[in-house]
């Protein structure tokens, strides 16, 4: 048991969990407000990674300077995606009835397009670079500084988002849309404008996460899919459309992956993660942090 209660494992679980939370928050935001299943979310993560890589290797800037550009470019992509792809989908009555299925197919296409554009632009070779590579010792455990940087930035971004949803006018409008889409229109919330903000914000969070992911693993055009899958597991854990649930679900998935392997072995990694996923769907399809509605 003592080998489980170590700072090393705790920080590993927190780093992984914070990245999952940040990625899942953006995915859940878009799903919760518009019922659009963005399976191209992982590709936006990769886009953020490429921006960080490009700024580091081509411009010689450190990753801290890439955080804002990654978010900005990803937000622009989100805005464009909403205007070009999603707005027509949400406007037509006959399409609205099948919005989840349609969005799944459309975003699958977007995902393939983004992968291939990235392959043409950057080649399919994996890319990696160095940033904050020095070892830092905390509580007798050693960590590369970039992992702590990723934890700090992802944690701050998640908390910042939650404060935005709690205290800002736009954030409250987003939450209103999440809870009662029809009623929110009655109280004067302009759904179309909020949808644009949601897409930009959701993509920006994925872009920021990609920037941080590029520190911990090689980026390649086809590496985003595993993040989309993890984000779906997180939102099943936390509840579809539940933003705080996404944040906590990400931390839980990080803990399940790290401590699950510590208690068994890495042979069991996928079995544990997907068993949790299936059990959640059967036992609490509304997620751990959402009350069941009748």
């Amino acid at each position: 048991m003592n080998s489980i209660l170590t700072v090393q494992l705790l920080v590993a679980a927190l780093v992984l969990g914070a990245l999952y939370s940040l990625i899942a928050l953006g995915l859940n935001l878009i799903y919760g407000t518009m019922r659009l299943l963005n399976v191209a979310h992982g590709e936006v993560v990769m886009l953020g990674g490429y921006i960080a890589y490009g700024m580091s290797t081509q411009l010689g800037l450190n990753t801290a300077y890439a955080l804002i550009p990654s978010m900005f470019v990803s937000a622009l992509l989100g805005f464009a995606t909403y205007e070009v792809v999603c707005r027509p989908l949400l406007k037509k009555e006959q399409l609205l009835a099948r919005v989840e299925a349609n969005s799944l197919i459309i975003f699958f296409g977007v995902s393939i397009a983004l992968q291939n554009i990235a392959a043409l632009a950057f080649t399919a070779s994996p890319k990696s670079y160095r940033y904050l590579d020095q070892i830092v010792t905390i509580g007798g455990a050693s960590f590369a500084a970039y992992r702590l940087f990723a934890l700090g930035v992802a944690g701050a971004a998640c908390i910042g988002c939650m404060l935005f949803f709690r205290f800002s006018r736009t954030g409250l409008a987003i939450r209103a849309l999440l809870q009662q889409r029809t009623a929110s229109a009655l109280v004067g919330i302009e759904a179309d404008r909020i949808n644009r903000v949601v897409f930009a914000l959701g993509f920006a969070m994925a872009g920021l996460a990609g920037c941080l992911v590029s520190l911990t693993e090689p980026i390649s055009p086809f590496g985003g899919f595993s993040f989309t899958i993890s984000a779906f597991v997180v939102i099943i854990l936390g509840g579809l459309g539940n933003l705080l649930g996404s944040l906590l679900g990400g931390l839980i998935l990080g803990a399940i992956e790290v401590y699950g392997v510590a208690l068994t072995s890495s042979n069991w990694h996928s079995i544990i993660v997907y068993s949790v996923f299936v059990v959640m769907l059967l036992w609490r399809p509304q997620g751990l942090f959402t009350r069941r509605t009748t």
């Binding site: 080998s3 170590t6 090393q8 494992l9 590993a12 679980a13 780093v15 992984l16 393939i112 992968q115 291939n116 392959a119 080649t123 399919a124 070779s125 994996p126 890319k127 990696s128 670079y129 160095r130 020095q134 070892i135 050693s142 960590f143 590369a144 992992r147 911990t216 693993e217 090689p218 390649s220 055009p221 086809f222 590496g223 595993s226 993890s230 992956e257 790290v258 401590y259 392997v261 510590a262 072995s265 890495s266 042979n267 990694h269 996928s270």
Partner: protein, 396 residues
């Protein structure tokens, strides 16, 4: 200037242009087909193979064209994306043969795609030299239309690893295996070979290819304190190992990551910390006994601004070299090509290559090690370009 002088000048200029272009007119081009895994699971790895083909075609054309039984003709590459899907690779090779009517074939990427196209080669009796495939099951394939220049067969690779460990007098080992076919096949041969040599396996674990954290697994390995950590890895997880082994402080003098360290990104990412890592591979530009090795390396770096992958790029280029030499001797006739490839010895960037059945019987199975940023062959000793060095301490 009189009109006849103008005509003479024009005729002269035309003749010079024709001579400059050699005998290679575009409609004379030798069409060389292959499928590339530009998207899907193999996409990140297969680009190093496609690059090697592209370099080969460019060099051949710059040299006046491919010698087809003494007549030089330009090479035209015809390729399609197989999406890392073996059944699509099979369809592409059928299309290349029947619809595009290519003159020659180069191989697809990876073992599953090789297996998928073999029935097509058999059906149309179309010879092709393979490249990035490695499995003991390759030996079960009917010889005649496919040959494999690789010497990294899992059973022989397992023996080579054990021999190197024995030569260093290492007694204990931990094994990490990514859950992908080649790595699992290698592990199947490695564990009995270690056991037979009296090297105790103190830890062995598998993990999925998309794993995001290895802290718990590497903590267990550190506690077991083995002499050797043998990672049967692919590129993404090899990077994860390096990051977390350094944090946790794994100090085994032998640390191997089977696939990954020879990718260009690896050395850029880890610099001096990559020194001492052992990996699979049987080609190095530093082996002076192979005079074509360094020029290939230099040409690849000049064209693509990164190093070739020492396994896949080298094998792809070797397969093209073998095809080139056979075509120069016997032309494009399939029966003659089959006969030539099956019986002749080929001069490649990896030294001489000769086939018996589907296997390359001249190139020994080798292990390589990163030393001062360069990949050196360290085993077996007769072909080593440098002696093995125990992995030193991680830099802070």
């Amino acid at each position: 200037m009189k009109i006849n002088q103008v005509v003479m000048l024009a005729v002269g200029a035309f003749s010079l242009l024709a001579a400059a272009a050699g005998s290679g007119r575009a409609d004379d081009a030798v069409k060389v087909g292959f499928s590339a895994s530009k998207t899907g699971l193999f996409a990140s790895a297969s680009v190093t193979q496609s690059n090697a083909y592209e370099l080969w075609a460019e060099q051949v054309n710059a040299d006046g064209g491919l010698s087809v039984a003494g007549v030089k003709r330009p090479v035209q590459l015809v390729s399609y994306d197989d999406q890392s899907n073996p059944s699509m690779a099979a369809e592409i090779y059928e299309k290349l043969i029947t619809s595009d009517k290519v003159d020659l074939l180069l191989s697809p990427f990876g073992t599953p795609n090789h297996f998928a196209v073999v029935p097509i080669l058999e059906r149309y009796k179309f010879p092709m030299v393979g490249s990035s495939a490695a499995s003991v099951r390759l030996r079960e394939l009917k010889p005649g239309n496919i040959w494999f220049p690789t010497s990294a067969f899992p059973d022989r690779m397992a023996v080579a690893i054990v021999q190197l460990l024995q030569a260093q007098n290492y007694k204990t080992a931990a094994i990490l295996t990514v859950q992908l076919p080649f790595a699992l096949e290698l592990k199947k041969f490695l564990i009995p070979a270690l056991d037979q040599a009296g090297i105790k396996v103190v830890a062995s674990t598998d993990y999925p290819a998309d794993i995001k954290d290895m802290t718990a697994t590497l903590t267990t390995i550190k506690q077991a304190a083995p002499d050797a950590v043998i990672g049967l890895t692919f590129p993404a997880d090899s990077l994860l190992y390096m990051q977390e082994a350094r944090e946790i402080g794994i100090t085994a003098p032998f640390q191997m990551l089977s696939v990954g360290p020879t990718y260009s990104f690896f050395q850029k990412r880890f610099g001096a910390n990559a020194n001492g890592i052992v990996m699979m591979g049987h080609w190095s530009p530093h082996q002076t006994a192979w005079p074509k090795a360094k020029p290939f390396f230099d040409a690849y770096v000049a064209k693509f601004h990164e190093r070739p992958e020492y396994f896949d790029s080298a094998l792809a280029y070797m397969s093209a070299e073998i095809t080139t030499q056979a075509v120069a001797r016997v032309g494009l006739d399939h029966d003659k090509l089959r006969q030539d490839i099956s019986t002749q010895t080929f001069d490649t960037i990896n030294g001489p290559v000769r086939f018996e059945g589907v296997e390359n019987i001249t190139t020994p199975t080798m292990l390589m090690q990163l030393q001062d940023g360069e990949a050196q062959i360290v085993w077996p000793k007769p072909v080593a370009s440098a002696p093995f060095k125990p992995k030193g301490a991680w830099a802070d």
